[in-house]
């Protein structure tokens, strides 16, 4: 009995901390329509700042606390609202998601950079005090945590219901345009709510840090609990959010107390918040099709078949050259890059063409790898089946949320990734706890590909095939439907398209491509484990895909190479790892608004080069000589036209930048089609 009471108290204490974090999340989301994936990361950074003030600077506890909660955190929130998330709420959900994922990764990088890994300790508040309730004790820190949540609830209530600016916050949830006509300033409202939101994240972080420990990831990922609680309040009701947080706190506490310590159920305790999140999302009511949504997508011309073939040939030749020339270790890296590139191609389909965000793409690759290793069929059949299994799993993830909008789909992928990470991949029937599985190299039609060079070349062939497949798809019926669906879902619906199943199909296909990449990767490495597919790594993958251009094949190839280089660069200097994360993260924050990414920049450079230099060159050379084999190392300015061909390959669907910009491009577009 006494243990039940103490578990209840423990649950309520965690619930109180989740409630504080979740209410900040709800506040920022409702007022600005930007769901802050990085909410937990802000809490983590603020906990580090607090540690820094207390331990490194030697400030008294209360001074540090006041500085963090009343100065650093609000200022950060204000800056973020002012310069990062401004205007994101009106755009497509996918952009807002990518930007906040960028913050997420960037903040982790920043923390690693500023506070390199070391043993750090933060003492609980009021450590010497404890109270007795019946037979159980409650510590001073726990009392403070619960009191804090009560104070936060009361203050938020007073702010929102008793002050004009608080009323304006609620009004801007209803109708920010009208608030402007009233003379209110929605931007100020947004800044204030972000200031308060980040401050609440900081408070939750500081309260939890003595329990969880000062860790980059543990604190950051606690945010899933906050998502889950906030989701129960449908991201708008604060009372329901508090209730959700308490329920989740108790559930987690009881799960760790009463679940058996053996078998699969044991691992359930680690994923209670993710399961809770998943369950709440599934139970949400259906979203209605809206009329008059975002429109005006920039379409760039698709490449001609010959151009595609030329560049595919160049890529394969390049890989073949590397295969015969570089060391085994280097070849493994090339193979890894190809893997990532294929996974990014799956994002080109899902995010670039379809406009949906998945935060679990690497997990789907893991499913493919696991299936490939378990099937023990190192041939095309096994490979295909692995991809199909991954596709099926992807469809299963999308299925329960197919009624809902993009944000919930993305969050359920996050929950899915967390469940796979902590429960399925670690289970005995899968990789086992910290375990690995052997995987054979692929044989095609009885011809075994044993040498690493040949295998990497085979992977490049698959990369090219998938890319071709995607481009064909984009040109065909499905590609047009994808664009039509982004332009007007309502019209697609009334014309008879079952949007929900179309979405599930899209998601499944994307997961299937990722699964194919995973299976190929398993064959490359020979042994494969859950550590190769950690859910967190899906986030930098998404970011690099967006930074390099998630709408193009070129972007995926460049992004894959970039992601492969990340650990290589940071292995030389571990310090660099954090810095790279910070650069990628914050880079994505600014590049995220243009999903065409760097690839599109190259495309423009190439076009500029062609228009400036191409005509001059042509004028000087009356007889145009046959072009040599295109060389990837060649700069775009040297041979503009070829560079254009490469980038043509991909920049298929542009961003939703607005309908004004593309006007000039329309002519070219039509002309090339005609």
């Amino acid at each position: 009995m006494s243990s039940f009471v103490s578990f209840t108290i423990f649950g309520l204490v965690s619930g109180a901390a989740y409630a504080i974090a979740a209410s900040g999340l709800v506040l920022t989301y409702t007022t600005t329509r930007v769901f802050n994936i990085a909410h937990g990361a802000f809490g983590m950074v603020m906990a580090f700042v607090y540690w820094d003030f207390v331990t490194r600077q030697g400030f008294p506890t209360w001074v540090s606390l006041a500085l963090v909660l009343l100065v650093v955190a609000p200022a950060t929130g204000w800056l973020v609202a002012r310069f990062v998330t401004k205007g994101l709420g009106e755009g497509p959900v996918s952009v807002a998601l990518v930007v906040t994922v960028g913050l997420f990764v960037g903040l982790i990088g920043l923390a690693q950079q500023l506070w390199p890994p070391a043993a750090r300790y933060v003492a609980p508040f009021w450590p010497e005090k404890s109270f007795q309730i019946g037979e159980t004790f409650i510590t001073g820190h726990q009392v403070i945590t619960i009191l804090c949540s009560v104070v936060v609830a009361v203050l938020l209530y007073l702010l929102l219901n008793r002050t004009r600016i608080g009323t304006a916050m609620r009004a801007s949830v209803d109708n920010p345009e009208l608030l402007k006509l009233f003379g209110g300033r929605p931007e100020r409202v947004a800044s204030l709510s972000w200031a308060i939101g980040i401050s609440l994240a900081a408070l939750a972080g500081v309260l939890l840090v003595s329990v969880v420990g000062l860790d980059y990831y543990a604190l950051t990922l606690l945010v899933i609990n906050a998502y889950a609680a906030a989701m129960l309040g449908r991201l708008k009701s604060l009372p329901l959010t508090f209730a959700g947080a308490m329920a989740l706190g108790l559930l987690t506490s009881y799960a760790s107390a009463y679940l058996p310590t053996e078998g699969l159920l044991n691992s359930v305790r680690n994923v209670v918040p993710a399961l809770f999140l998943f369950a709440v999302i599934v139970l949400m009511p259906q979203a209605q099709l809206r009329i008059g949504q975002v429109k005006g997508i920039v379409s760039a011309p698709l490449p001609s078949l010959t151009k595609c073939l030329g560049w595919a040939g160049a890529l394969l030749a390049f890989v073949a050259l590397l295969a015969g020339w570089r060391s085994e270790a280097d070849l493994l890296l090339v193979g890894t890059a190809a893997t990532y590139a294929i996974v990014m191609l799956s994002l080109v389909l899902l995010t670039g063409y379809g406009g949906h965000v998945s935060l679990a793409q690497l997990t789907f690759a893991g499913v493919g790898a696991l299936a490939y290793a378990k099937l023990e069929q190192p041939n095309l059949y096994g490979l295909l089946l692995s991809a199909l299994i991954a596709a099926g799993v992807g469809a299963l993830v999308a299925l329960p949320v197919l009624r809902l909008t993009g944000l919930y789909l993305a969050l359920s992928t996050l929950a899915f990734a967390s469940i796979m990470d902590k429960m399925i991949f670690q289970a005995d029937f899968a990789f086992g706890f910290n375990g690995t599985l052997p995987a054979g190299r692929l044989g095609i039609l009885g011809l075994s590909i044993e040498s690493t060079g040949a295998y990497v070349f085979t992977m490049a062939v698959f990369l090219v095939l998938v890319a071709f497949g995607l481009l064909l798809l984009r040109r065909g019926v499905i590609g047009r439907m994808l664009i039509a669906m982004r332009d007007s879902p309502a019209a697609c619906g009334t014309l008879g398209l079952d949007i929900r199943w179309f979405r599930v199909g899209l998601f499944g296909m994307s997961a299937g491509i990722a699964g194919l990449a995973g299976a190929l990767f398993a064959g490359l490495r020979g042994t494969i484990g859950s550590a190769d597919f950690q859910s967190f790594n899906s986030l930098p993958l998404l970011l690099l895909a967006v930074v390099f251009g998630v709408t193009s094949v070129t972007g995926a190839v460049l992004g894959g190479t970039g992601l492969m280089l990340l650990p290589v660069l940071s292995s030389g200097d571990p310090q660099l790892g954090g810095l790279l994360f910070a650069i990628i993260g914050f880079g994505a924050v600014f590049a995220g608004r243009d999903p065409n990414g760097l690839a599109n920049l190259l495309f423009r450079l190439g076009r500029m080069g062609e228009s400036r230099l191409g005509s001059q060159i042509r004028a000087k050379l009356p007889v145009l000589p046959g072009r040599g084999e295109p060389d990837p190392d060649q700069g775009p300015v040297d041979d503009g036209s070829v560079e254009v061909a490469l980038l043509d390959n991909g920049s298929a669907v542009g961003p939703v930048d607005g309908p004004v910009e593309p006007v000039r491009e329309v002519g070219a577009h039509v002309a090339t089609r005609g």
């Binding site: 004009r164 345009e177 009233f182």
Partner: protein, 235 residues
């Protein structure tokens, strides 16, 4: 003649490549009520959006009390005395009546004064002060919206389709309020499809069509012009 309170000069605005306002010229004299009439798609609502700062003009100028305010932010315009009551529901449905009124004090009048004015004019709002605005009837919601015009003593009141979706009796009641506001010397530009009602309270009228003002004058002249356009003519 004194400076008109609102002067719109050769105003252009477009949605994407489709131009909706194609050179609108319009002047509202100080203290006057002007009715702006015209068919669907004539650009009336777009004009309201541009004047109130919700939409950017592509060309032309807007002068408010002699000051050029083209492309000023809507909240700034609201604070210098432009009161816009937009088309449709112009209250916050999930806020109580009292909270709606509190927000009206952003236009520069203390909250207590806003409440007092509103409750004096519309005692019904006092009865419902703690009710959510969205749960009131359409007419009551418009009363609430009109309270802002009453309480904030604006330099110019911009009314867009006040009557939309309301019972005629209530529309009449609302226009009595408009007349009352007008008699206190407030200048009003009122966009309306209920031509007759709007013309009843107005000093001047203008007709918009195809993104331009095609006719303007005294209400009687305009009414004559307008009355031939009902039910395809041969009634």
């Amino acid at each position: 003649m004194s400076v008109p309170i609102l002067e719109v000069v050769d105003l252009h605005a477009a949605y994407g490549r489709i131009e909706v306002l194609r050179g609108v010229d319009l002047a509202v004299p100080k203290g006057a009520v002007m009715a702006l009439l015209g068919p669907n798609g004539a650009g009336k609502s777009t004009l309201v959006k541009v004047i109130s700062g919700q939409k950017k003009a592509t060309d032309g100028d807007i002068h408010l009390g002699g000051v050029n305010v083209r492309n000023a932010a809507p909240e700034e315009l609201a604070r210098i005395g432009l009161c816009t009551v937009p088309e449709g529901r112009s209250v916050f449905p999930n806020l109580t009546v009292q909270e709606n009124l509190t927000l009206m004090s952003y236009a520069g009048v203390p909250a207590e004064a806003v409440l007092e004015t509103a409750f004096t004019y519309f005692p019904r709002l006092l009865e419902r002060r703690s009710q959510l605005a969205g749960t009131m009837s359409g007419g009551e919601q418009q009363m609430l919206a009109m309270s802002r015009a009453l309480a904030s003593d604006p330099a110019l009141l911009l009314l867009d389709e006040l009557s939309m979706g309301l019972a005629p009796l209530i529309v009449d009641e609302l226009y009595d309020t408009v007349a009352q506001i007008a008699s206190s010397g407030v200048s009003i530009l009122c966009i309306e499809q209920f031509a007759r009602t709007a013309l009843r309270v107005s000093d001047y009228a203008a007709v918009m069509s195809g993104g331009r003002v095609v006719a303007s004058g005294e209400p009687d002249e305009i009414m004559e012009t307008m009355s031939d356009v009902i039910l395809g003519g041969a009634a």
